[in-house]
């Protein structure tokens, strides 16, 4: 599939569905059906089996033509995590059922992975799924679930066999969030918002046709989900002074009265770090585009968290009296994280989560040390014992 073919298809889509006169959802469905949703996906599933690099072209031309997008920040979990997993492990029927409304945003997805007792050690999860006829009955508690209150579907990992070692007894499901056994409770954070939820699962019924991958193979399936989560966080291009550094640099330039030699040195140091992180991201993007994927994705997430925390802390200090204030403690349930639409105090507090969510910085360092540098794993006593015999 050449660039020119893709360009032609975009032109045809626009000709047949003039964005100015087409209903948003109708346009998005048409775009999906034209294979222009995600061009690297297979034909029939919103793609053209084309190189991923061509997507930029599609997005640019459609944006230029005033076409609506699918509001990707709102449906990030579906796009970034559920979709690649359904594509890789789903049956044909599952793929056709789930991917189109996922991509158009008609159906929001959330992720039921972490549990109070299984965070970094996800494989220790205790939510049980018990076979019952042609389906499963699920009981347990999940946590850190964003979008749970707006989601139609969830990707879920549950324990189907407690008698085998913990990585072996897990199965991966698609869970219907409208099931009466699903209870969603907002989980308020240190920012005052409730961006996440706790989800209590009580006798939730899942048909076996909503299982993704073989029974007992959920750990392997989940790796696809998690790897895509990390790539999604680190893979975006950025202009110089994009992100948090830009916010702080602007405050610095606009407020000479706030400057001190101490803050100047620290800001310069962070400016360098931010620019290097940006160049690292750009280099990673070039590597991916030229087909040499590197392990730098984990590096990006670590750098991003460190920088966001350093800079937001610096910003509060820089602001002096204004740094003592906070914009709003009202409990809300936002659909997206808005770093720049809020004040410095919010950024400072919210950034603390960057080194925890989606794999803590500690876990990422372990991954780099073991998978990239080839350092030996630590001695572990929990890998071979049956799950039910593990100390808790």
């Amino acid at each position: 599939m050449e660039q020119t073919d893709v360009r032609e298809r975009v032109a045809r889509l626009l000709a047949e569905h003039d964005p100015a006169r087409t209903d948003r959802l109708a346009f998005l469905r048409a775009r999906f059906d034209a294979g222009l949703a995600w061009v690297h996906f297979p034909v029939g599933l919103g793609g053209l089996a084309a190189p991923r690099a061509h997507q930029v072209l599609v997005d640019e031309e459609l944006a230029a033509a005033g076409a609506p997008d699918n509001d990707p920040r709102r449906i990030g979990i579906g796009l970034g995590m559920a979709a690649p997993t359904v594509l890789r492990y789903g049956t044909e029927e599952q793929q056709h059922r789930f991917l189109r409304p996922l991509w158009t945003g008609e159906e929001v997805w959330c992720q039921l992975f972490s549990e109070p007792g299984a965070g970094s050690d996800l494989a220790a999860l205790a939510t049980r799924a018990v076979r019952d006829g042609d389906g499963w009955v699920v009981n347990g508690q999940k946590v850190w679930t964003s979008s749970a209150h707006t989601a139609r579907w969830a990707i879920l990992v549950a324990r189907t066999d407690p008698d085998v070692p913990k990585h072996a007894g897990i199965t991966y499901f698609v869970c219907d969030m409208t099931d009466p056994g699903v209870e969603v409770r907002p989980l308020r954070q240190i920012t005052g918002e409730a961006e996440f939820n706790e989800v209590f699962l009580t006798d939730v019924r899942i048909p076996d046709t909503h299982r993704l991958g073989p029974v007992g193979d959920g750990w392997r399936v989940a790796q696809t989900t998690l790897n895509n989560e990390r790539v999604a966080i680190g893979g975006q291009a950025m202009p110089r002074e994009g992100g948090m550094i830009g916010v702080v640099a602007r405050t610095w330039r606009d407020h000479p009265e706030l400057r001190t030699p101490d803050l100047h040195q620290r800001l310069l140091g962070s400016w360098v770090d931010a620019e290097v992180a940006r160049l690292t991201g750009e280099r990673l993007r070039q590597q991916l585009a030229s087909g040499q994927p590197g392990p730098e994705g984990a590096a990006m997430k670590l750098s991003f968290a460190r920088l966001a925390q350093e800079l937001s802390g610096l910003e509060v200090e820089l602001l002096g009296e204004d740094g003592l204030e906070y914009d709003d403690w009202t409990m809300r349930r936002p659909e997206i994280v808005d770093f720049t639409g809020r004040d410095a105090g919010y950024r400072y507090l919210r950034a603390k989560g960057n080194s925890i969510e989606g794999g803590t910085s500690e876990i990422l360092r372990n991954i780099i040390a073991e998978r990239v540098l080839g350092l030996p794993a630590e001695p572990r006593g929990d890998k071979d014992l049956p799950w039910k015999e593990l100390p808790r």
């Binding site: 970094s120 308020r188 200090e317 009296e321 500690e362 572990r380």
Partner: protein
């Protein structure tokens, strides 16, 4: 100048340890994490019953006030111990603004009139300066006084103003002469600000013709405010030490219990080393805060250096400790229901309070001749 610290007692005396025990016991009963969290979501962010128990019953409001003025006749070493414990519990009481800043200003101004009420915990007299004012800063000139003591102007970001009975307002008259005025809280407008620190919100104080009683004039007023800020910064180091101690102890307790990968997460070496490093700095902070308190208590000429060192060190440490506390608690540390965030917010606000670490390093450079 006792700059080799020889002869300056850096330990806690038995009396100080007893004081600590009684404060801690009271706070454990009346300022549990749940109680503090509940209060900062209420309309009344300060706890008046707790304040009465601390200030009046335990006599902590007048610790540094001579017995002749109705106080306990102890000193800033003992106040520092109280600040440590208050830091440990982030209790919502006006101790910094009142018993430290306000009282230090009154003591330095030699103005005995208010002291008995203040020392007895019957009235809270808060020094009306922006919380960000560092020692060594010039007297703020945002309030103007006329010859009859009528005051107009505003003081922004005042800690503990919300529950003040009296505000001690620095002002200048038409000739630019400084004065420190006592103003009844009822005569001014106090505007609560939505604050990062939930347990010590700041407020703006608006004076629109309020009558002030002159407490000290001219150089004495300036000296009183300078001294109050120096004492406040020194005492704040002990509060920061207390915050860091709570964060370290709470984190250690958590990682000993929390299991992942079949092990207590506190058995993982990377975490152990980070906590050891944190402990190391807490040990240093204790020595630095003690030295600042001891030199302030003794009116030692090394107090300015001691305070600058303690603030430069403890201000950053408390923030670091609170950040590590959140991180090593994982997701649970990010929740509103866990008290860690109260400490993070207090630590971050404290870093700005009474001079940032950068401000104090710059002061220090000047004091010890390490100049740009």
């Amino acid at each position: 100048m006792s700059d080799d610290a020889t002869g300056v007692d850096l330990l806690y005396s038995e009396v100080e340890e007893e004081l600590r025990a009684s404060v801690r016991a009271l706070l454990a009963r009346k300022a549990s994490a749940e109680a503090v969290l509940g209060r900062c979501e209420s309309a009344e962010p300060y706890d008046p019953a707790l304040w009465r128990a601390l200030a009046a019953d335990l006599g902590l409001a007048g610790l540094a006030v001579p017995e002749a003025d109705g106080g306990a006749g102890a000193g800033w070493r003992e106040v520092a111990v109280v600040m440590e414990e208050l830091g440990r519990s982030v209790a919502p009481v006006p101790y910094l603004g009142g018993a430290v800043l306000g009282t230090a200003a009154l003591l330095a101004a030699g103005a005995g009139g208010l002291l008995p009420d203040v020392a007895g915990g019957r009235r809270v007299a808060v020094l009306a300066v922006p919380l960000t004012s560092g020692p060594g800063a010039a007297l703020p000139a945002t309030v103007a006084a006329d010859g009859a003591g009528v005051l107009r102007g505003r003081v922004t970001s005042v800690a503990d103003a919300l529950v003040a009975d009296v505000l001690l307002v620095p002002a200048r008259d038409a000739d630019g002469v400084a004065g420190l005025y006592a103003v009844a809280a009822g005569d001014v407008e106090i505007v609560r600000r939505t604050s990062l620190d939930l347990t010590r919100p700041v407020a703006h104080v608006l004076l629109d013709g309020a009558h002030g009683q002159l407490v000290a004039a001219g150089e004495l007023a300036e000296a009183a405010v300078r001294r109050a800020l120096l004492v406040g910064a020194g005492m704040l180091a002990s509060e920061q030490l207390g915050i860091a101690e709570w964060c370290l102890a709470t984190t250690v307790a958590y990682v000993r219990e929390r299991r992942q990968f079949g092990r207590a997460v506190g058995s993982f070496q990377a975490l152990k080393h980070r906590l050891a490093d944190l402990w190391l700095e807490v040990v240093g902070a204790r020595a630095a805060a003690r030295y600042a308190a001891a030199t302030l208590a003794a009116d030692d000429p090394d107090a300015e250096v001691a305070v600058a060192v303690a603030q430069a060190y403890c201000g950053a440490l408390a923030v670091w400790a609170a950040e590590e506390c959140i991180q090593l608690h994982g997701g649970i540390g990010m929740t509103w229901e866990h008290p860690a965030h109260l400490y993070l917010k207090r630590a971050k606000a404290d870093q700005l309070a009474l001079g940032t670490p950068g401000h104090h390093r710059a002061e220090l450079g000047r004091l010890v001749g390490v100049n740009p």
